[in-house]
Structures are given as structure tokens and as C-alpha cells.
Amino acid sequence: MNKTRKMIKNQKKYTPVIGLEVHIELSTKSKMFCGCPADHFGKKPNTQTCPVCLGLPGALPVPNELAIQNCVKLGLALDCKINKWSNFDRKHYFYPDLPKGYQISQYEDPFCYEGQYLLPSNTDGRDTEKRIGITRVHMEEDTAKLQHTTLNNPSGGESKKVSLVDFNRSGVALVELVTEPDFEQIEDVLIFGKELQTIARYLGISEADMEKGSMRLEANISLREESSDKKTLPNYKVELKNINSYRFLKKAMQYELERQTKLLLKGEVPSQETRGWDEAKSVTFSQRSKETAKDYRYFPDPDIPPIELTDDQIKKIKSQIPELPSQKAKRYKKEFDFPKNYIEILVQDKQKSQYFETAAALKPELAKQIASLMVNKNLDKDYPEPAGLIKKIVQLTKVDYSSTDDTTSAIEEVIKNNPDVVKKYDEGQGSVVGYLIGQTQKLLKGKGDPKKISDMLIKKLQKWGGK
């Protein structure tokens, strides 16, 4: 007994320490530093290039203003401070997908810094919001895309392993967002990722689609002893990279937590490295050791003058930010008191929420039914116009009433069975109608349309009396 207790006591408990690096490709028409189209998904390789994004000798970058505004917009949506003076820096490293030998990025003065995002309460048993610090949101350019493939030899010889480069993606505007290592639960990381995607769509700056690569999530993940100081970070971190879906990211993070816990319990420190996810084997695997910090030799890009953002410009960008999903969710809760899943589904999709709001404005008393039919039956898909859905709802409610034939025979029966009452009506006692309606409703088992019964009954009574 004593022994078991001691073991439990010695079994250290760990808390995950997770920080995110998120890349979001902006959906601007042209690339970050040239006029080439930015929409590269599914396009024929190397058809959207020019001297600038190919990094040809003598070519120079000219920054895309809209992309900068969109970056600032995202920063503002995440409560960031905005640098009024910032500039682009060159980040040097060698890779075949980087034709200039450096990536134009931002280093010392990112456009946005020191922001925050509040994870909603009521998740994972948490009853308060949780603050996630946003370290920075900066602007950079995407790299080209490498394709490792095997080419068949047309003359029948040995096939050849090759790496092909597609420069269509080279120079596409890319926003990088870095969070503080504030996440302590995998679920929160996923909530944040999805929320960020929704925010990007609300702002209209990107589809932020993980499967298409327009949003890329990298998690820096490590464990600290539960009893240790929150501010002291573990002496290692593992970077999970090149994972293109939430499902895989979740699995990879779960796997990592288990793997690292085992190592730590054995008294080992996990290596500082980049790891990927092998779906077939359901394991993470080492891709690159990061024991030594890389020296990117950042320095201000002399080709791009410093960028000044005035208070007016920042104000203008701020004014373009719509009600954000988290604000909307709070409002729906307050205004309509919908269940959590209703709110989630309606808010997740900006168009859906707009549809709901238009419909609810037409018939405020039907708000709950509108939401229900949208959430449970996807009826908004069948009726492109919110007014159409309202009409349908009204019709649907009518179907529940008894048919005209049933109502007619019920009324006839009530009149036949209550000659005294009918007589009173004939004598001018209009108030007896209520009693007769009640009797009819009784025969119809309460399914009658009150207005219809009343109309038909009065008509009949007048006829009857006329006889």
C-alpha cells in the first residue's frame, strides 16, 4: 500500500506547452512583389511567372499594398499593435524552391505585434476564456513548390527520380502568424486553428484552406512538469511541420505528447527537431535536427523603402473589419439563446450567418425555426433566397392543421349536436361561437386551424340561420 502510494507520488505529471506558427496565403489577385496572378492552385506549372518571382538577375520587388492592408487587418482582428514604421528584410537560406537565395520577410519590425486571442469558455470543462498571446503577424512571400517524382524513360530505360520546381507559387503573398506557447490542450489548438480560418474568411483575405495549402499550421510542442513555473519554458521543443489537415495534426500532437512523456519519465530530454506525420504508420518521424540555430543573416531589404502606416490608414483598415465570429457567437447567444451547436454552425460560415440574419430580420418570431432548419436540415441550401425559406416554414406549419374536409364535417356535427347553442346564436348571442369552436377543436383533437374553424363556422351558422 505504502509502496504504491509512493510510486504515484513519484510519477511526474506533465502539462503540454504548445505554440503555433501559422502561414496563410492571401487571396490577393497578384503576387506579393510582382503582377503575376496569385491563384496557383491546380494551374499548369510555371505558367504564372515573371523575372521578379523567378528571381532573375536585375529583377526588383515592388510590394503589393492590398496584401499589406490585409496583413494589418488580420493583426487588428487579433488585437495586435501596429508598427507605423516597418520594413521588409531578407532572410537568407539555400533551397531549390527559393530562387533569390533569400526570402523577403519581416524581422525586426513586423506589421503587427503583441496581440491576443481569447479562446471561448465552455470548452474542455473550462468556464473562463483562455488568453492566447499573438507574438506577431508579419508579411512575407511564399516559396516555389518542389515536386519529387519519378520520370519514366520513354525509350524504355530506367526511370529517373527527379525534383521539379513549380514557380507559380513563388512570391505569393503569405502572412505568418506566431503565437506565444500558451496552449496547454490539443483541443484548444484545433479550436484556434479553425477560428483563425473563419476569421480569415470573414475578413475576406484568404480561404485559409489547409487541404489546399493556403493555410499551414506548425506546432512547437513540448512538456513541462505540471508543478513547474509556467513562465519557464522546457529546455527543448519539437516542431511538427508539413501536416496538411486538422485530423493529422491532432493525431500527430497526441502522438508527440505520449512519445515525449515516455522519454521524460525515463529521464531523457527529447531532441530538438522538426518532425512530420506518417499517416500509414500513425507515428511522427524526425525530419531535421534543430540543435543549432540557423543564421538567416536578416538585414533590411534595400530594394524596398520602409513602409509607413498612418493613423488614418490604420483607422480605415480597422473600419473594414466586420463583426468577427467570436463576437457574433456571443451576440447570437444573447439575442436568440441558441444551443451551442446551432451557434457554431451558423457562425462558422460567414455566408450562412448572413443568410440567417437576413431571414431572421424578415420574421423575427421564426428565428429559432429558421436556425433549426438551417442547422438540422440544411434548408438554406435549397432556398437561395432567405425569403423563400420563410415561405416554406409558413407552409410547413400549415400542414399540421386538419384538412378542410375534416374541419367541415366536424363543424357540421357540432352544429347538429348543439341545436340549443345554435339557437342562441340565431337569437343574437355571438359569444357562443367560442364554445362551438372549442367543441369543433375537440372533435379535431386540437389539430384544427383556429382561424379557419372560426371563419367556416360563422359562414355555416349564417347559412343555417338563413334556412
Binding site: G58, G101, Y102, D295, R297, P302, D303
Partner: protein
């Protein structure tokens, strides 16, 4: 059209266009991209490179009636002040073939000086237009940084590079500048400032012009003949009505360090794209000088050294800018010699890695401050030409061109 024999003798052109289009012939330094015409930057790394596009300057010249007749030799990647770092060998001085044409735009200066063309384009980071123009006895203009587009000019020191004309006379330089100056949507560092009519600016009238004679540009080690001839030229300006005052600038020797640090950093970054993946040749094709500069620049930008070198250099750069601003609050232009010596003999750069930086000492301060400057021939010293340098306020090319013009029109041959 080009005298091929003469070109070969002096090693002026790296590529001669066989059937040039109709127009006024112009020679282009081989670091300007020319669509369909081989462009090497005088480095074997680009030995067979044929660009898909032309530099903005080249396009503008072609649109205005000029035709490219050939691409001229330079120090490889513009790394030098002699053309001795060219992988294709040095360009010789037309005035004396035992001497160098200077660099890096040596081919363009020699092409004009030898009479092969009246117009040429050079490019200057610090001294690469003024130096060879002075040593070859022709006119060389380095415009304000941002006055002329760098798009399509192979980058050397991106915060310094200024494409500029090298011509037979001042009028030629004014003509070319009028065409090539102005905002370019492909170069974010070009200025939207209005482009003056530089030809109209050439009135020859410099009465009342406030000229600062930079005393400390008369270096102690300078040939006394150069000092004498320079003072004589300044005397002529005075005779023409200019008010001459002796002034002192911040010691130009400090500019050598600033320039070297900034330029090497930018060079190491700009040459990173020649990584052996594209363009056909590997990095082993880089010459000695390029390798030295890449290594030094890489070191300067490394973490831990940036503050000590790069950032410090930028601070001193600001001091130079302030110093010039102060002088230009009083003066219209500053004058002095262009180069501390006449064209040196072939082989001068051997074992002298810093040769260029030292030779360009009188060009570096105005270059790091982004100022315009012109050199106009002002006589011969021991059979080799020297130049009078006139430095102006930012975007006041018109004023220095006119000063040079007034001198050129009134000077008496040696």
C-alpha cells in the same frame, strides 16, 4: 559598325551585336539585361546567359531612338575599379594601352574615349562611372540614387547602385539622363520627383553659382599636377561668375569603411541567387574577388557581427548625409578632383584586394549619401586624362550638368 579590331585590342566589348537595329548607336555595360543579347556581368557564372527581358533603362533608350551596338566589359559583377577582375580580362586605356581604363564601367568609358561610340551606359555603386570616365577623358554622370531605374541591372550594392551615362560631352549626358530618369513601376526605390529638362538646363550661365571647393579632397599623396589642374579648372568657374569658397567635408577616408561594409553585405545577398541550381554553371565559376566579397559580406551579416559592422556603418552613413546636407544649405555644388591619381598601369590590383575602395575614395562619400555627381575632363597629367568632379544636391542633376557644361564650353585645351 563597331571597329572590331579596335575593340579586341582594347578589350572593350564582350558582345558586339551583329546586326543592330537602326538608331543612334549606344554601348551598354554588360550588367544591364538586354533581351536576346548575351549578358555576362563579366563573370563566367553567366558566360552564356541570354536574358528574357531588358532593363528599364535599355527599353527607354530603345524607345527613344537609340540602338544597342554591344555590351561592354566591366569588373566582374562590378567588383572593382580597374576591369582587372573581369573574367574576360582588363580593358585598356585608349590614351595609353599600358594603362587601365578603370572600372567598373571601363568598357563603356573606353568605347566612348576611343571614338567607337558617342554614347554609353555605365553604372556606379561608388566611382564606377566617374572613375573610368575621368581616367579615359570623357564625361561620366552618376545620378541621384533613385533618379534612374535599377530594374534589369544586375544588382551589386542595391542601396547604392545608380545607372549613369558615359558620353563624349556634357550635352550627351544631359540627353541620355532626360530619357532614362524617372519613376519606374518596377523599381520601388525610384523617385516620383519631376524630371527636369536637362538639355534646357545647359545654359552655360553660372553667374552667382555658390561653389564649395572641397579642400580635403586634395589628398596629401596626390600628384601635385592633379591639384594644380583641378585648381585651374575651378579658377575658370570663378572667371565665369561662380562664387568659390573653400570648404571641408567629413574625412572621406571614413567613407571607405562604411562603403565597404554596406556594399559587401549587399553583394553577399545579391549573389546568393547564383547558387548553381539555375543558369547552368556552378559557384566554382565565381572569380577570386567575388568569392572574397561574398565571404566578407556573409561574415558581416552573421548574427553577432551585424551590430558591430552593418548597423554601425549605417549610422556613419547618416553622418555623411548630414554633413552634405549642411554644406548644401550654403552651396549649390561642391567641386574637387574626381580621382586621386591618373589611370594606373596594368596589374595594379594584383595583391591589392582593397585597390578599388582606395581609388574611389573621392566618390564614396557622395555615393553613400545618394548624391548626383559628374566628372568632366580637365586636362592631362603625364599623357593621361584627369577629371573635375562636381557634386550636387539630391535631384539637382540640372545644376551640376550646367556647371560642367559651362566649364566644358570655356576651357582651353592643354
Amino acid at each position: 559598325m563597331i571597329d572590331k579590331k579596335l575593340s579586341k585590342k582594347l578589350n572593350v566589348f564582350l558582345t558586339i551585336v551583329d546586326k543592330p537595329k537602326k538608331g543612334i548607336p549606344i554601348a551598354i555595360k554588360d550588367n544591364y539585361l538586354t533581351e536576346g543579347i548575351r549578358t555576362t556581368a563579366a563573370s563566367f557564372v553567366l558566360d552564356d546567359y541570354i536574358p528574357q527581358y531588358s532593363a528599364t533603362v535599355v527599353k527607354k533608350l530603345e524607345q527613344n531612338g537609340y540602338c544597342v551596338v554591344g555590351k561592354t566589359n566591366l569588373d566582374a559583377w562590378c567588383h572593382g575599379s580597374s576591369t582587372e577582375t573581369s573574367d574576360y580580362g582588363p580593358t585598356l586605356n585608349p590614351h595609353n594601352t599600358k594603362h587601365l581604363a578603370g572600372g567598373s564601367s571601363g568598357g563603356s568609358a573606353a568605347a566612348v574615349a576611343s571614338g567607337m561610340v558617342d554614347f554609353a551606359m555605365g553604372s556606379e555603386t561608388a566611382g564606377s562611372v566617374r572613375g573610368p570616365a575621368s581616367w579615359c577623358g570623357v564625361v561620366g554622370l552618376k545620378p541621384t540614387y533613385g533618379r534612374v531605374s535599377r530594374y534589369g541591372v544586375i544588382a551589386m550594392g542595391s542601396s547604392l547602385d545608380s545607372p549613369g551615362p558615359i558620353t563624349k560631352d556634357v550635352t550627351g549626358a544631359a540627353k541620355l539622363l532626360k530619357i532614362i530618369a524617372g519613376k519606374d513601376e518596377f523599381d520601388a526605390t525610384t523617385s516620383g520627383n519631376l524630371v527636369d529638362d536637362y538639355e534646357l538646363a545647359l545654359t552655360g550661365d553660372i553667374k552667382g553659382l555658390k561653389v564649395g571647393l572641397v579642400e580635403n579632397y586634395m589628398l596629401s599623396e596626390m600628384d601635385s599636377e592633379i591639384v594644380k589642374k583641378t585648381l585651374k579648372a575651378v579658377g575658370l568657374l570663378e572667371k565665369l561668375g561662380a562664387k568659390i569658397t573653400k570648404v571641408k567635408t567629413l574625412d572621406p577616408t571614413h567613407a571607405i569603411g562604411v562603403y565597404t561594409v554596406v556594399q559587401r553585405s549587399e553583394v553577399s545577398s545579391n549573389l546568393a541567387r547564383f547558387d548553381g541550381v539555375r543558369y547552368g554553371f556552378g559557384r566554382d565559376k565565381f572569380g577570386e574577388e567575388a568569392k572574397r566579397r561574398i565571404m566578407l559580406g556573409t561574415h558581416i551579416l552573421s548574427s553577432g557581427y551585424q551590430d558591430r559592422y552593418y548597423k554601425k556603418a549605417q549610422k556613419i552613413r547618416t553622418l555623411f548625409i548630414n554633413d552634405f546636407n549642411e554644406l548644401f544649405s550654403e552651396f549649390d555644388c561642391l567641386v574637387g578632383p574626381t580621382m586621386p591619381s591618373t589611370a594606373p598601369k596594368i596589374g595594379v590590383t594584383k595583391n591589392a584586394a582593397m585597390y578599388g575602395e582606395l581609388a574611389d575614395i573621392l566618390a564614396e562619400p557622395s555615393s553613400i549619401a545618394g548624391l548626383p555627381a559628374i566628372t568632366v575632363p580637365c586636362g592631362m597629367v603625364k599623357g593621361l586624362p584627369i577629371g573635375l568632379q562636381i557634386i550636387g544636391k539630391q535631384f539637382e542633376e540640372g545644376k551640376i550638368l550646367n556647371t560642367a557644361f559651362a566649364y566644358e564650353q570655356n576651357k582651353k585645351d592643354d
